[in-house]
C-alpha cells in the first residue's frame, strides 16, 4: 500500500486531471497525519501506543481485518423517546428536526467589514449522530419526492473546497500541497443536491466569530471573541447540506477526526477502580472518554477495537478510511398496490457491492407513478427518512496486527458516566472524579433533542462530543473547535 485512497474510492479528483494526482496525494497525507496523531496521542512513555499507521508499517505480513457494523438510526433518540406515548413518531420527527448550531453554547455572529459584531447567524445541523444523515425532499404539495442519505465526512469536502491549508499548521510544508477547487465542489452539489446551487451559496458571505469562554492559561482570562471562519471560505453548514438538502454530514460528531478519536481512544487498555480490565462497550466509552455511550456506533466500534488491543494486537482503520452505509434491508417495502420498489434504492456515490456506500437516495422511478410517501412499510406510508434509516446499517473496517511485544499495561480511567437525573437510561461522559450527584442543572440543560415548535421534548439533556475531557467538565454538542472545522483559525 502506497497511499490512503479517498473514501469509497471516489473518483472526484479525476474530474480535474491536472490536479488529480496532487489532490490524491494530499488526501493520503491528511489521513496519514491523523493516523500518526492517533499513534502518538494514545501512547505514553511507559505504555506504548497500540494504534498504528498502516502506511508506515514495514513489518512482514498483512494485518487481519474485521468489519464493524452498527445501526444507522440514532440510538440516542430511540432511548430518549422510548417511554413516550408515540415513541416512533417522536424519534423520527426529532431526527429530521434541525438543531441550531452553537459553539461552546454560543451562537455564531456575523462580523462586518469594519470588524464589528453583527447579528446572530441561523445555522443548523442534524440530530443524526451515527455517521449517517438524511434529508427528505418534498414537492409543493408536501409529498416526499426523494430521501437522500449521506455518510460523507465534512473533511473530504473541506479538502475539495479549501485544499490542504486547513489541515496543517503554519510552517508545515504539507499545508501547500494542493489548493482548493470551489468549482469542483459546486459541480458536485449541482449534480447531486440541486442544479440551482450557486457558488455563493456554498461559502461564508462575511467573516464569522464566536465567543470562546475557555480560559487562556497564559492570561487566566477567557479567550473572548474569536474568528470561526473567514469570508469566502467553504461553509460546511450551508443551506444545501442542512435546510435545503444534504451533501455531507453535519453533526459535530460525524467526522473522520471523530472516527480516529474513537478508534484511537479504544486502542488503550483500561482498568476500572478494582483493577479489572474494562470490557463492556458502554463502560469503555465512559472510562476512556471517547464518543458517546448512547450511540450504537461509538461503543460498538470502540469495543471491537479494544478487543484486539486486549489481545495485545495493534489496531488501525482500513483503507479507504470511511464510515459507510453498508446496506438497506429492502424487505417489507412495497408500492401502494404491492409493487416491487427495489429500484427506488439508488446508490450515487461509493460502492454498493463493496458495501462502501457514501451517498444513496430512495426515489421511486417515475414510471411507477407514485411518490415515496405512498410506499408502504409494514402497512404504513413513508413520512420520515427515519423509517428507512431504521432498516439501514453502517460499517467500518478495522485492522489488527501484532506489533508490540509483551503485554501492554492497563491504564486508569480518565472519564466516567453520569446518568441523567430524570432519564437514567441516558448517560453522559464527564471527567473522572466528578460527583454525579453534584452536577449543576446546566450540565444537563445544554442539548435536549429538538422538536418542531409545539412539540415537547421532555427534559433537557446534553448530547454530543466528548472530545477533550481535560478541558471540559460538561459535555455539549459543538463542533470540534480544537481540531475540527474551526481549526483553520488557530488558537
Amino acid at each position: 500500500m502506497d497511499r490512503f485512497h479517498p473514501p469509497g474510492f471516489l473518483e472526484d479528483f479525476a474530474r480535474r486531471p491536472d490536479g488529480a494526482e496532487d489532490r490524491a496525494k494530499a488526501w493520503s497525507a491528511i489521513v496519514s497525519s491523523w493516523m500518526d496523531n492517533a499513534a502518538v496521542t494514545y501512547g505514553t512513555p511507559e505504555v506504548p501506543s497500540l494504534f498504528f499507521n498502516p502506511l508506515k508499517d514495514e513489518t512482514p505480513g498483512e494485518p487481519a481485518s474485521a468489519a464493524v457494523a452498527w445501526d444507522a438510526f440514532p440510538r440516542f433518540l430511540t432511548r430518549w423517546f422510548q417511554e413516550d406515548d408515540e415513541p416512533d413518531e417522536k424519534r423520527w420527527l426529532a431526527a429530521e428536526t434541525l438543531r441550531p448550531l452553537r459553539i461552546n453554547g454560543r451562537a455564531l455572529r456575523r462580523v462586518d467589514e469594519q470588524g464589528f459584531l453583527g447579528e446572530e447567524l441561523q445555522l443548523f445541523y442534524r440530530q443524526q449522530d451515527e455517521y449517517c444523515e438524511w434529508h427528505a425532499d418534498r414537492d409543493d404539495q408536501g409529498r416526499i419526492t426523494r430521501i437522500c442519505f449521506s455518510s460523507e465526512a465534512p473533511e473530504y469536502w473541506e479538502l475539495l473546497a479549501e485544499g490542504t491549508r486547513p489541515f496543517f499548521a503554519q510552517g508545515d510544508p504539507r499545508r501547500d500541497l494542493v489548493a482548493g477547487d470551489p468549482g469542483l465542489v459546486l459541480e458536485l452539489y449541482q449534480e447531486h443536491v440541486n442544479p440551482g446551487v450557486t457558488a455563493d451559496d456554498l461559502v461564508w458571505p462575511f467573516d464569522v466569530a464566536f465567543f470562546d469562554d475557555d480560559t487562556n492559561s497564559q492570561t487566566g482570562q477567557p479567550f473572548g471573541w474569536r474568528f470561526y471562519a473567514r469570508k469566502g471560505t467553504y461553509n460546511p453548514f450551508n443551506k444545501w447540506t442542512t435546510t435545503d438538502g444534504i451533501m455531507h454530514l453535519t453533526h459535530p460528531a460525524n467526522t473522520l477526526r471523530g472516527e480516529f478519536r474513537v478508534a484511537g481512544g479504544a486502542s488503550v487498555r483500561r482498568r476500572d477502580g478494582a483493577g479489572q480490565a474494562v470490557v463492556d462497550p458502554e463502560q469503555l466509552v465512559c472510562c476512556s472518554g471517547f464518543g458517546d455511550p448512547n450511540r450504537s456506533s461509538d461503543p460498538t466500534i470502540g469495543a471491537a477495537v479494544n478487543t484486539f488491543a486486549r489481545s495485545g494486537l495493534s489496531v488501525s482503520v482500513a483503507d479507504p478510511v470511511g464510515l459507510y452505509i453498508s446496506e438497506l434491508a429492502l424487505n417489507g417495502f412495497s408500492g401502494p398496490a404491492g409493487e416491487d420498489v427495489t429500484a427506488a434504492w439508488r446508490v450515487d456515490r461509493g460502492n454498493q457491492e463493496a458495501r462502501m456506500i457514501l451517498r444513496a437516495r430512495f426515489e421511486v422511478p417515475a414510471e411507477l407513478g407514485f411518490t415515496v410517501d405512498q410506499v408502504l412499510l409494514d402497512g404504513d406510508g413513508i413520512r420520515f427518512g427515519g423509517q428507512i434509516a431504521d432498516r439501514m446499517q453502517m460499517v467500518l473496517t478495522g485492522l489488527a496486527k501484532r506489533l508490540v511485544d509483551g503485554p501492554v499495561a492497563l491504564r486508569a480511567c480518565i472519564g466516567q458516566c453520569c446518568p441523567h437525573p430524570d432519564n437514567p437510561e441516558i448517560e453522559h461522559v464527564f471527567r473522572s472524579g466528578v460527583s454525579c450527584a453534584d452536577l449543576p442543572p446546566s450540565a444537563w440543560a445544554e442539548v435536549p433533542p429538538v422538536l418542531p415548535e409545539g412539540e415537547v421534548a421532555l427534559e433537557a439533556v446534553a448530547a454530543g462530543e466528548t472530545a477533550d475531557l481535560e478541558a471540559v467538565t460538561t459535555v455539549t454538542a459543538e463542533p470540534d473547535v480544537k481540531g475540527g472545522l474551526g481549526s483553520r483559525l488557530g488558537r
Partner: protein, 554 residues
C-alpha cells in the same frame, strides 16, 4: 415445618446458595402466570388449537372460555410436576415413565382481544397491534403470492379470516393423556351447548428422539433463565443457582453459560433487564393494567425442507473440498458450522473438531463459553455436601474461526460480543426470549433415496414469550438472523434466516486461519407456513376478559 437452612441441590425451596451482594429478586405470582411462560411445559406431545369466535356468538364463546379457566395450567402447577420429575430422576427411581400432567394454556390475538375488551388497542407494542401477517415482509418472508411462504398461502394466520382469536396450547408428556385432553376439547368445541367458537387450526406436535429438530440437531440446549422467587423465602428461586458464591458469575448466572434475566423481559409487572447494570430495571408495562402477569406469545409455523438443506450441504462441500483450506470439509462439519453446535448439542466452542455426545449430559459445561473473551474455569455446587466441581474454561473466538460469525447460535445469542445495537452482554440479554418450540411432522427418512411418507410436511412450531415483540423477537429475527451484518459482520444465518428482498439470496463468509470462502444460496429450507402474535394473560385477567369478573377495560 422446619425450613432447611443450607443450600441443597435437591431442595425445592432453597434453590440457590446465599450470594453476598446479590440483588433481591421479586416474588413471581405463581398462581397467575401461565405455566408455559414459566417454567415452560416441556411436554413431549403438544396440540395447538386455533379458534375463531363465530360471528354474533361472543356470549357463548365467553361462556365456553370461562369454563376453561380452572383448567389453565399455572406456573405453580407446572413447576410442581417439574420438581417431582426432577426429584425422581435424581433418585434414579425405577418408574415406567416420568410423571405427566395434561396442561392447557391460552393466548389471544389482537382481533380476539378486541372482541373481549374495549382497550385492546391501548396495548403499546405496535407489532402486536398490527399482527404478524402485516409485518411478514419485514420478517423476511417471501413477498410474491406464488411463493409457498407468502402469507396468502399460510395454513394459519396469513389473513384476518385465518388468524385465530384464541390459541390454545395443550401439552402432556404422555401421548394418551394428550389425546384424551385434545379429543375432549374438540368434542366440547363442536358439541352442545354451542361453544361459539370454531376451530380453524388444529396441529399436533411431538418431540423427536434425542430432542432434535428435523435437520438433526438437538434443540433448546441454551436458554436464558428468569430471575424471580416463588415465595418470600429469600433463596426460593424459580431458576436454580449452582455457581460457587465465591465466583462473581454467581450473581449473574444460574449455571455456567445460563445468564439470569430479570423477569420483566418475559412477564409484565416485574423489573426488566437493564442494559448497563446487573440490577433491576423499570417495571415492564405493556399498557392496560390487566396485562400484568401476562406475556406476548410469538408463534411461527415453520416447514423444514430437509432434502433442500442436505442438497445445499452436498453441493457446498463439493465446492469447498476443491479449495485447499477446506479440503477436509464434510457435510456433517459444514452443518455444525451453520448451527454452531454438533448434532448432540456439543458446541464447537468447546469441541471444535468432532461431536462429543457425552457433553449433553453435562449441563454445567455444554453452555460454558463466550466469543469475545475466554470463559474462565468456574466452580459449581453440583451435589449436596460435596466440594465444588471445577468446570473447565473455553478459549475465545473473536474472528469466528472456530464458531463462525454466521452460525445460528452466535447470531441469535452473541453472548459477550459487542453488537450492532451498541452494547454487549447486558444489552444482548434484553433481546432474548423464552423459547417454547416443538417439532411437528414425522422425521425425514434416514435411508438415502427412500420415499418420504410425510411428503416434506414437517418442521418446527416456533413459540416464544416476551414482553416486547418489537424489541425482542423482531430484533433477533429481523436484525440478526436476517441481516448479513448483524449482530456482527459475517453473513446471514443460513440455517434459519431469510432474505426475501427481491433477488437477494443469502450468503456468508466462512473464515478459518487457513483461508476463507463465500457460501451463497437462493434456496429456502425453512419456510414460514403460518403464525401470529398473541397475548397470554394472567389467570385473573383471563377471568375478566371472559366476563367472570365483569368487563375488562370498560
Amino acid at each position: 415445618m422446619e425450613t432447611p437452612q443450607a443450600f441443597d441441590p435437591d431442595s425445592d425451596v432453597i434453590t440457590g446458595p446465599e450470594i453476598p451482594g446479590a440483588p433481591v429478586e421479586p416474588v413471581l405470582d405463581a398462581d397467575e402466570i401461565q405455566g408455559n411462560i414459566l417454567p415452560g411445559f416441556g411436554s413431549r406431545h403438544q396440540v395447538l388449537l386455533g379458534l375463531k369466535v363465530v360471528e354474533g356468538r361472543i356470549a357463548e364463546a365467553k361462556s365456553w372460555l370461562a369454563r376453561l379457566v380452572p383448567s389453565i395450567a399455572r406456573l405453580r402447577d407446572v413447576n410442581a410436576v417439574r420438581n417431582l420429575r426432577r426429584s425422581l430422576l435424581r433418585r434414579q427411581a425405577a418408574l415406567p415413565a416420568a410423571p405427566s400432567a395434561p396442561w392447557i394454556n391460552i393466548a389471544f390475538s389482537i382481533g380476539g382481544l378486541r372482541l373481549l375488551t374495549t382497550d385492546a388497542d391501548a396495548i403499546r407494542d405496535p407489532s402486536f397491534r398490527k399482527g404478524m401477517a402485516l409485518l411478514s415482509g419485514s420478517l423476511g418472508d417471501p413477498t410474491r403470492p406464488e411463493q409457498e411462504g407468502h402469507p396468502s398461502r399460510w395454513v394459519v394466520g396469513g389473513a384476518a379470516e385465518t388468524t385465530p382469536d384464541v390459541l390454545l396450547i395443550l401439552g402432556a408428556s404422555d401421548a394418551c393423556q394428550l389425546r384424551d385432553l385434545a379429543e375432549g376439547l374438540r368434542m366440547s368445541l363442536a358439541g352442545v351447548p354451542a361453544s361459539g367458537l370454531r376451530t380453524i387450526y388444529d396441529q399436533e406436535a411431538f418431540v423427536l428422539d434425542g430432542e432434535k429438530e428435523h435437520f438433526g440437531f438437538r434443540d433448546g440446549v441454551s436458554q436464558v433463565a428468569a430471575r424471580g422467587r416463588l415465595s418470600d423465602l429469600p433463596l426460593h428461586f424459580l431458576t436454580r443457582r449452582y455457581i460457587d458464591p465465591a465466583d462473581p458469575r454467581a450473581l449473574t448466572h444460574g449455571k455456567p453459560g445460563q445468564p439470569l434475566v430479570w423477569p420483566g423481559q418475559f412477564v409484565f409487572g416485574y423489573p426488566t433487564q437493564q442494559d448497563d447494570e446487573g440490577g433491576p430495571g423499570p417495571i415492564a408495562d405493556g399498557g392496560p393494567d390487566w396485562m400484568r402477569n401476562g406475556s406476548f406469545l410469538v408463534f411461527r409455523r415453520l416447514r423444514q425442507d430437509v432434502a433442500a438443506f442436505r442438497a445445499f450441504l452436498r453441493e457446498q462441500v463439493a465446492e469447498l473440498v476443491r479449495q485447499a483450506p477446506f479440503a477436509e470439509m464434510t457435510e456433517a462439519r459444514l452443518a455444525a458450522l451453520l448451527v454452531g453446535r454438533w448434532p448432540s448439542g456439543a458446541p464447537l466452542m468447546r469441541s471444535p473438531e468432532r461431536d462429543d455426545p457425552a457433553m449433553v449430559d453435562d449441563s454445567f459445561a455444554i453452555n460454558h463459553f463466550q466469543f469475545n473473551d475466554p470463559a474462565d474455569p468456574v466452580a459449581v455446587l453440583a451435589e449436596a455436601g460435596a466440594s465444588p466441581r471445577l468446570v473447565a474454561g473455553a478459549p475465545a473466538d473473536v474472528l469466528g474461526h472456530v464458531c463462525p460469525r454466521f452460525s445460528h447460535i452466535r447470531k441469535v445469542n452473541p453472548r459477550d460480543l459487542p453488537t450492532d445495537q451498541g452494547g454487549a452482554f447486558d444489552q444482548t440479554l434484553t433481546f432474548q426470549v423464552l423459547r417454547r418450540g416443538i417439532t411437528w411432522g414425522d422425521p425425514f427418512p434416514q435411508d438415502e433415496g427412500a420415499a418420504d411418507p410425510a411428503d416434506g410436511q414437517r418442521g418446527l412450531l416456533f413459540l416464544c414469550y416476551q414482553t416486547s415483540i418489537r424489541g425482542q423477537f423482531e430484533v433477533l429475527n429481523n436484525k440478526w438472523m436476517n441481516r448479513r451484518n448483524g449482530p456482527q459482520d459475517g453473513g446471514h444465518d443460513l440455517l434459519v434466516g431469510q432474505n426475501h428482498a427481491p433477488a437477494a439470496g443469502r450468503e456468508c463468509l466462512l473464515r478459518t486461519s487457513q483461508g476463507e470462502a463465500t457460501l451463497k444460496t437462493m434456496a429456502d429450507w425453512v419456510i414460514p407456513t403460518g403464525g401470529g402474535y398473541f397475548f397470554a394473560p394472567s389467570i385473573s385477567a383471563l377471568r375478566g376478559l371472559v366476563g367472570q369478573e365483569g368487563p375488562v377495560g370498560a
